[in-house]
Symmetry: C2
Subunit: 217 residues, 2 copies
């Protein structure tokens, strides 16, 4: 049995270390999870004992194949639930995270797979992140940062890198949503800001915002 706490560690190691393939330091994990490095050391030993992680003292952690699959399945559940909340229960995309954090730990294979079917086997969650399949695989999003789009060109908003509350609320306030077609009208070298146009409006976005918007063509 993989405990809830173990699942959270697996998820973090997966995210920080390119799906757990490159070594992650205990400190990095501690910071991400808002806990102490000593707690991480304890847990990482436990994961290694259960064959979910590879751990060498002072040299960081990677995931075993088993650990990587376990992590991907938690992420699968998280993203399916997020989509469910947004599509069926009228949650906005900045409200889903906390609840999905809880739902991702529900243990029932049938539940996940039926939910997947109920949602029509979606490939991406409300933030544009890909949803792993039953085997933990997914095709990464083919998208480029909006700053790499030439002036005059347009594309579809496919993914936002930052999915913090505050950023999602900014997007909501400014009527920007995944799936929107966005055209780059101008690039301002002084502050690296962009002028963009959507179906409904023309607006200026700061470089900081632009860095978080990814476009598929």
């Amino acid at each position: 049995m993989v405990t809830r706490s173990e699942e959270n560690y697996l998820k973090t190691i997966y995210h920080l270390g390119k799906q757990g393939t490159i070594a992650v330091s205990t400190n990095a994990i501690a910071e991400k999870m808002e806990t102490k490095a000593s707690s991480v050391t304890d847990m990482v030993k436990k994961l290694a004992e259960k064959n979910l992680a590879n751990y060498i003292k002072y040299q960081g952690v990677t995931l075993t194949n088993e650990g990587r699959l376990a992590a991907a399945l938690v992420i699968r559940k998280h993203r399916l639930w997020e989509l469910f909340l947004v599509e069926k229960l009228n949650f906005s995309w900045d409200e889903v995270h906390e609840v999905a954090e809880q739902l991702e730990h529900i243990k029932s294979l049938k539940l996940v797979n039926e939910l997947d079917a109920f949602l029509g086997y979606p490939t991406h969650d409300p933030h544009g992140d890909p949803i792993p399949d039953k085997d933990g695989n997914y095709s990464p999003i083919k998208s480029i940062n909006i700053l790499d789009l030439d002036t005059g060109k347009e594309g579809i908003l496919a993914f936002v890198k930052d999915s913090s509350d505050i950023f999602l609320k900014y997007l909501n306030k400014n009527n920007l949503a995944l799936g929107d077609t966005i055209k780059v009208l101008d690039f301002e070298p002084f502050d690296n800001s962009l002028t963009i146009e959507t179906k409904t409006q023309k607006m200026i976005i700061s470089n900081e915002v632009a860095q978080n918007l990814y476009i598929s063509l």
Copy 2:
């Protein structure tokens, strides 16, 4: 914050003691929860400290108003999730319990209430049990045991008292489901069994089975 374990105790006390109004012994709780009486004593003290239960040493436990509401809300969540699983995710009514046991502890008021709306504000779960509203209230089922139905009379199967796996599987196997119209054809005094008729079949049910079937008229 009410912990998962506390919620489980509240639920049990609610069920064993007429919504927590009559005192329940620690032993009774321990047996129902498959734990030890000493563990129950510990927890019950904690519930009393949090003002969720009234506890007098050696005299059993009742729920405070606050505790009763908390318990009803857990039960509300449990039953809404059961219905969701059956209606939307193709679970059969003998598969839902274990998963609903987990889902009932998810903390999000918005989630429960949106789920309620999504399901069309249902009043009963797949076993015919009533679903408490936001304030923990519900109208009890108006139904009578099938043994109290006169020969020749019919009614609708509204509720099953035993909702164990094995009993629900028996009903499935014999094509009996909530909502079915059932007519009592004969009562056999020798073994107290009943001959009944549904739209699709005529069959004999044992007294043991009959005791668990409740009929609304």
